[in-house]
Symmetry: C2
Subunit: 187 residues, 2 copies
């Protein structure tokens, strides 16, 4: 659960864990349930205990996946959450998911905890590094290569993602993804 | 100069400015001078007062531009600077440039200043938002569209960037960029 996840980044003393634990609520989300809708304000920071979510937007009528997050990991709509402005993206579950969430007010109170501050700083840096790497990868590698690397590095997560979302994530037409997959099967 | 730049983000009291100013050195870099070489550790945070720089890496022998920065703006090799590990990218000037720089030790001392902390937090958020937007744009728009948008939004900067670097930045072959430019000229 959340404590084990945070402890991958920093030690959490028992007394600090009591505060963190109290700040979060837990909820079971159904498959394909909308967690955040584009245009509404994201008021929560989420921990995905089990399941899979995707963050997406529409561009010229095409559904584009910004990222997938598989449990256990944290997520939120960063800009919207930070500025408390309408989100330019939606978030939905792709599987039944157990999700923890804490609102801005509760999180504000956690800022007195060293463990929480160290965790959120390191997590944010990790997410930012991931975004920078994704940008470099999309500039340097073809969709074929990126699909193959997902297949090698995240085979278990890849199987759980519907193909229609994967093509938008890779930045190729669904037909191109079918071709890439066929070519790989032939080999 | 730097004070005006910081004041776009937050007010800088005179006494805090004295500290910030004292932390930085200034140097005139020649055109095409290497500021940071891939594999070395980035020990500085830079403010580009005049000029233009690019950050790049090699992938399978191809020179890929990660980003261009036109003055006035700040830059550093974020991962390398943060972890004091060898950089996975190089930084060079594309024009004669006046650059301010402060090392990790000097910057550590600026952390007692409210104005400096507010400035660096906001700047980092701005850079991160820019990276996320770039990733979304490269997924949703063709190189043609992205080139046209640069032409409309940053015509003055675009003219200063050699074509050989622009194609790697857009993620297209140099021949494709020539074709894009020819098609635009025809219209």
């Amino acid at each position: 659960m959340l404590r084990n996840f945070i402890e991958q980044y920093t030690k959490v003393p028992d007394d600090e864990w009591l505060f963190i634990n109290a700040a979060f609520e837990r909820k079971l989300f159904a498959k394909n349930e909308i967690i955040l809708e584009e245009g509404s304000i994201c008021r929560y920071f989420y921990f995905l205990q089990t399941g899979l979510i995707r963050c997406y937007t529409f561009y010229n009528g095409t559904d584009i996946t910004k990222y997938f997050t598989a449990a256990p990991y944290c997520f939120t709509s960063i800009e919207s959450f930070r500025k408390q402005e309408p989100a330019e993206e939606s978030i939905q579950t792709l599987e039944e998911s157990v999700i923890w969430f804490a609102n801005t007010k509760e999180l504000e109170q956690l800022k007195i905890l060293n463990s929480w501050n160290e965790f959120t700083t390191k997590l944010l840096q990790e997410v930012q590094q991931f975004t920078r790497n994704s940008l470099l990868e999309i500039k340097t590698k073809t969709a074929d290569q990126r699909y193959k690397e997902l297949l090698i590095n995240k085979p278990e997560v890849l199987q759980r993602i519907p193909l229609k979302y994967l093509s938008g994530y890779l930045g190729v037409a669904p037909q191109s993804l079918s071709r890439i997959r066929k070519n790989l099967t032939k080999k």
